[in-house]
Symmetry: D2
Subunit: 282 residues, 4 copies
């Protein structure tokens, strides 16, 4: 069965006896057949997490309403979505093209199931490249007033009813205002193995430190710079032979894969963020 005929239920609640039985019993009574289920217990936090995939029933409206109502009645925090309801994604870029173009390529070839109504940049450079691929490109220059530029971006994202913002090497720090508008809905790619080398020029920091591996980290954006819940990480070998430029080259391949992995997991409702950590059901 292709993903568009599946629905995904995510549950978070304090742990107690019988949860799995209650939830699976509920689904069974509603005639829903669990195709895939994954669960996690954070014993320290006493929190239970579950992700269930099931085929979309014919009378979705009625069944999903009943399901949601019952889960609410059981005191569970839940989300429910048919994967055919594609999320709307806004991509923010600056001058480095590799991550942004890669996301668009994966979108066009059907690897990422979503809509991409708008690509926004604080620089005009990548406009032709983006437009040529058939995407709407918007140039929002900072021009001395960053707060206003961010407001214009937020307005455009709202207008496009964007559900997920991807910072594909967008080189500006977002304000708390922006982050609050998209809680756990802004994914950034940082070009280091966080928490090492947060902040500016991580490859230069890595070169100076003489590390033997460089990394990339995708994470949800919070008000604390480079401190949000980590979704995916990767590393690749470097040696004394590698210049900063070599690290950048190797890093580009990492960044693409690590960002795409995070975006795919988000689009398929595979991530539950809580506190400053994530559960990622692969």
């Amino acid at each position: 069965m292709t993903s568009i005929h599946r629905a995904v239920l995510r549950i978070t609640c304090p742990d107690r006896a019988g949860i799995v039985s209650e939830v699976s019993g509920l689904l069974f009574r509603l005639g829903l057949n669990i195709h895939h289920a994954d669960q996690h217990l954070d014993a320290e936090a006493n929190l239970f997490f579950q992700r269930i995939e099931f085929p979309v029933p014919e009378d979705w409206e009625r069944v999903s309403a009943e399901l949601k109502k019952a889960l609410d009645g059981m005191g569970m925090h839940s989300s429910l979505r048919r994967l055919s309801e594609r999320l709307r994604v806004g991509v923010l870029i600056s001058k480095h093209p590799h991550c942004g173009l890669d996301i668009l390529d994966r979108h066009r070839t059907g690897e990422l199931h979503c809509d991409v109504p708008v690509v926004i940049s604080n620089h005009a450079d990548l406009g032709p490249e983006i437009s040529r691929r058939g995407y709407t490109f918007v140039h929002e220059a900072i021009a001395g007033n960053k707060a206003e530029q961010e407001q214009r971006i937020l307005a455009r994202l709202a207008e496009e009813r964007v559900d997920l913002v991807i910072l594909a090497r967008y080189m500006q720090i977002l304000t708390g205002n922006f982050v609050a508008a998209y809680p756990n809905q802004v994914i950034n790619i940082h070009h280091s193995f966080l928490p090492a080398f947060a902040g500016a020029e991580p490859y230069r920091q890595a070169f100076r430190k003489g590390v033997k591996l460089v990394g990339a980290t995708s994470h949800y954006v919070t008000e604390q710079l480079d401190e949000g819940p980590i979704i995916a990480q990767g590393v690749t070998r470097v040696s004394h032979r590698d210049t900063v430029k070599d690290m950048e080259r190797k890093g580009r391949d990492l960044e693409r894969v690590v960002l795409a992995e995070a975006v795919r997991c988000h689009l398929e409702d595979r991530i539950i963020a809580y506190g400053h950590k994530t559960v990622v059901f692969e």
Copy 2:
């Protein structure tokens, strides 16, 4: 909760609607609280697999009997075990010490929860090393009659009530007779990334081929040499600089880790073998 107070249930059955609900409902009625559950559906084979961990109830004898009976009634193939019932492991070695000693080290330091009543070798060389660590070492020389030697090994393993046989670089091919006595209960480590370089001298084969990665594969032993269900695999980088000796050195580290991973998963009932594949619930 430490592992010794947990029980593990594994289920395999043809897929149909409602299995998850039925099983979790059954556990709930028996007062068992699911601490961890993992499941898998092989859509091609129409087979459903599940592994459930729950705390051992006080009246284990009664509850486990009821559980087993109910599952049998539901037509499910199942296994049920308290992790405190340690498996009994027989280790077979030849002359290479690294894998065998590593398994014993992990046993002594408590990483592998099992009993190791006997270590058997077709060579006497490693006897002192094994004995010094406090393990029973048995030398069963082939001495021109391999069939008889294998019979003596089987007799000893039976006498020690061994549940799992580990071939820790045991350099003899087992007969179908031996394999039939321990179905999916003999774990081998092959020093290549199978199915590449099956058979003898895989590092030499890899060197001749000029590959850029060498691997190791742990698998259950079947009658077909190096063809049994794969449990775990790993690889490490090599280059034109690496001689066969270098590959052997790098390979030893891989072999240890890949074998130990397979053994740990087996001891914790994390593996379900079916056909010539495995489900490994990590």
Copy 3:
């Protein structure tokens, strides 16, 4: 110093005392300053390999002629090239776009220093995508006569004075005739960890076998299918959860990186192929 002002000398010869001294003495007398040197001795084959990078001297024509003449006199097989003399690359593709487009992206963004005068396919599908990026696309359909189609491709590559042919998931087997025209000048990407799963549908083979890692291999093409000298390899983790489609998705990321690595090394004269192996000076 950027790569375009560097020259690369590669030497292969039977090993004997004093080679390094002779070669470095020769370069010194010609006023050439070694910026980077790497060497390798295959003791079994008694072959010595060396790669030397040095800044291009002002009177290149004279100096390079003298250098080449002296090396010939010393009985050495050598190649000499200024990296500013960009190789001319022909890309062959079929229907899978990811490897071909990735090579073109890396070319356009300056990561791969070469010219790409032509992209040829046995299918028309990717034409618009290629043309839109500003590359010349040629559709050479097989149309029942594969020998003639291959002749037309060879003619076009010759016309474009192509130095390197990249098979970016080109799904046709080349004849010995084609391979002989470009010895160690055709790079293929095979979507498995060779020598495992040579031939058709490697991901399906991997799925059936139940391996826990899937790989990709870039290699020079010889008359033996999937048997040519290996240049680079990579692997990525899979589990029982991964369908053939999931393996294909994960594999695409591997294939891109492993192919690009091989092409970059070839373009920078980092590879020396001998027998059915390679020396890759990273």
Copy 4:
């Protein structure tokens, strides 16, 4: 040729034209045949590094003296050693056995060519284990006076003429005094991917941060805690399922391999430390 008949020359000097030619010419005139050479240029620091392996000549005393004298005359910082002159290694441990025992195992099986005259611990626990393997174990308790304990350790290391100190999970911070006595001759294994999670309890830090990879770092010890030149690093995947205990288990395998790699490179004179970085000629 086995390693014991080889000599290794390491050179560090400011970069200038003709160095490679001068050095290789010098070796040639002394009748020394370069078997392996590797070099590196740090363009920022304008420093040239070279490592050369050659067979030990019959009249070693005379030839090595001439070589050293000539190199001194050329203003080069150099080291020269026959690999048959085994380094003397002191191993410092605390309560975690895995790294220390692993180093001893690699020593006994001939993987690490060195002498290990003494193993010292601030705890008595591992004494029997070490002694049983035939090594000299010394218990130096801190007993309220850490400075005196360190003095006793230094005295013992001096008495044993130790060339290299390995901190195999030795859980005490060394004073500047100790470090000054063994500049770039103390190798530590830190159980994180430095510079992330320096200091105490790195796996707990990693767990709290929710990283998706945990690492290990071997480095020379300097006065700055966990800040010395990095020699080798490795990482392994973790997920939300992994507890701190799981990370510790996975980490032990990493720590062993990463520490052993650093020690092997040091014993074979493959490392040149400069500033707070290393060149590692593999």
